[in-house]
């Protein structure tokens, strides 16, 4: 097992999806159980849910040999099983270690998802969890808690149930040791045979395995044979040696689990870990008819639907040219109109598939707040009101860091300490409210508000060294300046890393709007208005004549180098015409045109790179000056008639706060072919 490397790639995606979902459920249940415990009662259902979730995580993880996660979840499970048996009574001191356990699992799942190395289970955590409840080792109990070291050769002889027996015992803090017994006539005379040893060992522990292995013939082992013994005991080595007349070769467990560098310093939950594909709330039960689909499949389907829209416009053109030739196309046009309607419906159905409840997007927030309360020592209540609002998963995923940041800022900067609040005549417990509702059929409005001290415009201005902003819009603009921090010292939660400028950038990139209202000593609200759905594509970004453009990666067949010396240009076109060159590609001539010229701009010398697309069956190359790279972009349609141009499918913010045009090379290619054909005809 330690020696063989199993190819996990196939199992990983479903595993990750399932475990992530279970973690969300577990966190939610744990917080519910904690709330009940604080109120002096208990929430048996929540504890049961938590127990089940952890149990399933353990089972799934052991299927793909994820020892660290198996180890952590095993300890958690033991503790939870006891709590479940006690009617859902969860000790208050168990909550922190259990949360730490979930974080630890989460961290490892994330590592796995991003192909990073999965670190071993932190021994400190395992010990803490184990101390919560010391379960008696039950042989045969299906579990695993720690890794153990054995030569692969020997390990191969250990059956699964023996392995669990060993691991369970080790998890319970017992010693699993390895012995070797070489039978010899001399030993037999002393009454030491493998059978007598078996009996003796059974008296002081649990015999797991006795296996004969070949050994070179030596004086010590004249039979050329020795017995390998795996044994679980609480007795010290000397007692064991004495009992069997042979040396203890080594202990299997514990020592091989390297202690993590800082077992207590668990990394905080990365904000994106809050994202989750599907939900399963305990209210709805896990049996609701939910189909789990990787979002790439939805995107793929949506892309195909979009391709049908291209086909549709071709159909319309063909019909129009028939009409122009005097053919009676009334019925055809009727059919086409119907077809268009169906296509639109189909597309909106697909878009709807990607919608997730806002409540689900924000479900990690209580946990973040809980951590903040602990680190800041402030008393804050989080109120979440999201109703039934839904948002495109892509929007939701990108939004989370912004919301988390705003909530952090609220707790960290806005909410006063309990003493200060008391002096101001405010309730000691501060409130952070996050509300979400759909403002229209295309817009979501999220509000993060607090009842804290409000933003001191004078102080912000002083820090930035600028005049005091006169409007809240100006204040917001100032707050969103990169590098502006209203605190002198970076603190643990929001003083470092992401500032308001990132919040602004996230909102901008999504095509949303950020506004602010703030009142001294009354509080602050940030309102985010966001599109309910967006189109995200992988895009190639490049430069032509000093301007940047992006094209969806999917539309580009190939990137080629252009050797201008080898491009053959036909007879010079008339003034204003399109100079189409020809270049060789895999033995065939391929038309190449400067992208600038294709867009109707001034013809320039061909750039050194070209994007090849397939126009029908024919490849067409567009020469560009420089490739800038590849990135994910949010495409925003350019709907206004003033800027609706064939070949331009929208605009995207590449992160610089300016719109960059997203080109539709297929449409440009079609226009190029049309123009060249016209030129040939005339």
């Amino acid at each position: 097992m330690s020696g063989s490397k199993v190819d996990l790639s196939e199992f990983l995606p479903p595993y990750l999806a399932e475990v992530e979902e279970l973690l969300v459920l577990a966190r939610k249940s744990l917080l519910a159980a904690e709330a009940a415990a604080k109120g002096g009662g208990h929430n048996a259902l929540a504890v049961r849910e938590l127990f089940r979730a952890v149990h399933t995580i353990k089972g799934l993880s052991s299927m793909i040999d994820l020892e660290p996660i198996v180890a952590i979840s095993h300890e958690m499970e033991s503790c939870l099983r006891a709590a479940d048996k006690a009617g859902g009574h969860l000790e208050a001191n168990a909550v922190e270690p259990l949360l730490a356990g979930l974080r630890s699992i989460d961290e490892r799942v994330n590592a796995l998802a991003t192909s990073r190395k999965v670190s071993p289970a932190p021994q400190g955590l395992l010990d803490t969890l184990r101390d919560l409840d010391k379960p008696r080792a039950r042989p045969g109990q299906k579990s695993g808690a720690v890794t153990y070291a054995l030569d692969p050769e020997i390990d191969a002889k250990v059956t699964a149930s023996e392995r669990t027996q060993l691991l369970t015992a080790m998890a319970a803090g017992r010693r699993a040791i390895r012995l070797e017994f070489s039978p010899s006539p001399a030993k037999a005379n002393d009454g030491l045979t493998i059978n007598s040893i078996r009996d003796r060992l059974r008296a002081i522990g649990e015999l797991v395995k006795v296996a004969p292995v070949h050994a070179p013939k030596t004086e010590a082992s004249p039979a050329g044979l020795l017995f390998l013994i795996l044994f679980i005991t609480d007795a010290p080595d000397e007692v064991v040696s004495k009992a069997c007349g042979c040396a203890v070769i080594g202990e299997l467990g514990r020592a091989v689990v390297p202690a993590p560098p800082r077992p207590d310093a668990l990394p905080e939950l990365p904000p994106d870990a809050m994202a989750d594909d599907e939900q399963s709330t305990s209210e709805e039960g896990r049996s609701s008819a939910v189909v789990r689909v990787p979002s790439e499949r939805l995107d793929d389907a949506l892309e195909r639907v979009s391709a049908m829209f291209v086909g549709r416009s071709k159909l319309h053109r063909a019909a129009a040219s028939l009409t122009a030739k005097g053919v009676d196309t009334r019925e055809l046009n009727q059919l086409l109109a119907e077809h268009s309607r169906h296509l639109r419906d189909l597309r909106s159905s697909f878009l709807r598939l990607r919608m997730v409840p806002v409540s689900q997007v924000l479900q990690g927030l209580p946990l973040v707040m809980r951590g903040l309360k602990r680190t800041t020592g402030k008393n804050v209540e989080l109120q979440l009101e999201t109703g039934r609002a839904e948002v495109d998963k892509a929007v939701g995923d990108r939004l989370i860091p912004a919301i988390v940041h705003l909530a952090r800022n609220a707790v960290d900067h806005a909410i006063e300490t309990p003493e200060q609040r008391k002096r101001l005549g405010k309730p000691e417990e501060g409130t952070v409210r996050v509300t979400g509702h759909d403002r229209s059929s295309t817009q979501l409005e999220l509000t993060v508000s607090d009842d804290g001290r409000g933003i001191d415009a004078v102080a912000v201005a002083a820090r930035a060294g600028v005049p005091v902003p006169q409007t809240t819009a100006a204040l917001l603009e100032l707050l969103c300046r990169p590098g502006l921090s209203t605190r002198t010292a970076a603190d643990t939660t929001s003083g470092r890393g992401m500032g308001m400028d990132i919040v602004k950038r996230i909102v901008d990139q999504l095509g949303g709007e950020l506004t602010l209202t703030t009142e001294p000593d009354r509080g602050t609200s940030f309102v985010l208005r966001l599109p309910l759905s967006i189109t995200i594509v992988d895009a190639l970004v490049f430069e032509v004549a000093g301007h940047r453009y992006a094209v969806p990666l999917s539309s580009v067949e190939e990137l080629v180098e252009v050797d201008a010396a080898k491009v053959v240009t036909g007879p010079a076109p008339r003034a204003g015409g399109l100079a189409t060159g020809l270049m060789e590609r895999r033995g065939f001539a391929m038309p190449i045109v400067g992208l600038n010229a294709a867009m109707g701009l001034a013809q320039q010398a061909l750039g050194s790179k070209a994007l090849v697309i397939r126009q029908g069956d024919e490849p067409v190359a567009f020469a560009v000056d420089r490739m800038m790279g590849q990135q994910e972009i949010v495409v925003r349609p350019l709907d206004d008639l003033l800027v609706k141009v064939a070949g331009i499918s929208g605009a995207a913010d590449l992160g610089d706060g300016r719109p960059t045009l997203v080109l539709d090379l297929l449409a440009l290619g079609a226009a190029v072919l049309q123009r060249t054909q016209q030129e040939r005809r005339s």
């Binding site: 949303g512 800027v643 605009a651």
Partner: protein, 145 residues
């Protein structure tokens, strides 16, 4: 009844628009040109997260292009359900103008301005022109393609 109006400058002339039609005034930091669009469309701009078409007022009014200065402003206004930015040379003032202070433009000016000016008003010694933003945006946007 007097209404607030935003005063802005394009070339030598001063124009006004009702303040409630104007959504924002922003400093102009450049537009992304959109090849194939009307010549007076400077391109697209991103204003508070929204991508908007920007009309170059000078080009739209048939004035020669000048270099943008620090005074150049984006005037973001609504017409119908469309939001469009207008690049103007300067915009600094908001004035109160009563409905009575507006007079129909002289026929000569109306012909010259192709109906882009709805009315004229006097602010002290200055003559200001009331811009028909709807016409600025909607007329002549197809380019015969």
């Amino acid at each position: 009844m007097s209404l607030l109006h935003v005063v802005f400058k394009v070339g030598a002339a001063e124009y006004v628009m009702p303040a409630d039609e104007v959504l924002q005034m922003e400093t102009f930091t450049g537009a992304t040109p959109v090849p194939g669009s009307n010549p007076y469309v400077a391109g697209i701009v991103q204003v508070r997260g929204k991508v908007l078409p920007a009309i170059d007022a000078r080009a739209r009014f048939g004035l020669p292009a000048v270099d943008r200065t620090l005074d150049t402003r984006l005037l973001v206004a609504k017409t119908g359900d469309r939001t469009v930015a207008l690049i103007v040379d300067q915009a600094r003032e908001v004035v109160k103008l009563s409905a009575e202070s507006f007079k129909p433009p002289p026929p000569m000016l109306q012909a010259e301005a192709r109906g882009l000016v709805k009315a004229v008003a006097q602010i002290g010694p200055r003559m200001v022109l009331l811009l028909d933003f709807n016409k600025v945006v909607n007329e002549g946007e197809s380019r015969g393609q």
